[in-house]
Amino acid sequence: MPLDNVVFWVFAPISVGSALAMLFQRNAVHAALFLIINFFTIAVFFLVLGAPFLFAVQIIVYAGAIMVLFLFVIMLLGVDGNESLIDRLKGQRPVAILLGTGLVLELFFAIRAGIGFSATAPADFDAAVNKGGNAAALSRVLFRQYFFPFEATSVLLIVAAIAVIVLASRQRRAITRAEQAAEERSARTPRTEPA
């Protein structure tokens, strides 16, 4: 059995299992931890698929930065595990699970029809595409073919940073129109003090 097969069959059950565990976990912190496990398994898949740079980025950005942010917010808000089991929409849960399994089956048949279950990737990926290392090859593509989108993402990041500063700053709450009307009403009719 070749090595990448072993890696796949070890990590695929962990990946799907941790995702399912996240889905069924009541506690938000535990769900976040299961999601971190899932991100690590996806990083391993990236490594097997010949993308070591994305493997590193996945661990640094997703498992590191994004999930730390998630855990920070969960602990900041102090969310407890009580999630109401009452559906606002009647039968939302069964229908959602039905649709989810339907989606899996649909994608399964789409993959079978599209590329089939026996098509393997060409063996010379590292020699042909990852010439001089994955990071170097990726940067050649990124900075030659995709230079403008790359610059656009830097604008996106700056806009996101400004948006978060605006959202997070505790500005004084704007008075809504209803509150203003109520204030005027109370000003017009002076309180009648009992004599």
Partner: protein, 101 residues
């Protein structure tokens, strides 16, 4: 590489569907957001698998871009959730059923 590419795509499809069910079923806004992240990651996995199959790096570049966009999206989304929590003292999406503050 001997593992068929379709296997990675099936794992990706399963993760995406689990994320979809999570978005539909869960009530906690934070866990819904985590399920969205799971969906994004599933699609990234499919992109890298296709990139491997077609012997090109375009899929990997696209996965890289989607990671950058996901990072920006997470930051803004979490700030919105914190703001909603400040207003309503709850992260349940059922409590935020009306748009007006």
């Amino acid at each position: 590489m001997r593992t068929p590419i379709a296997y990675f795509l099936i794992v990706s499809a399963m993760l995406f569907s689990i994320g979809t069910v999570g978005v539909l079923v869960r009530k906690n806004a934070l866990i819904i957001f985590m399920s969205v992240e799971l969906q994004l990651n599933a699609v990234n996995l499919a992109l890298v698998a296709f990139s491997r199959m077609h012997d090109s790096l375009n899929g990997q570049v696209l996965a890289f871009f989607s990671m950058v966009v996901a990072a920006a999206e997470v930051v803004v989304g979490l700030a919105i959730i914190v703001n909603v929590f400040r207003r309503r003292q709850s992260t349940s999406v059922d409590d935020a059923a009306v748009l007006r503050g």
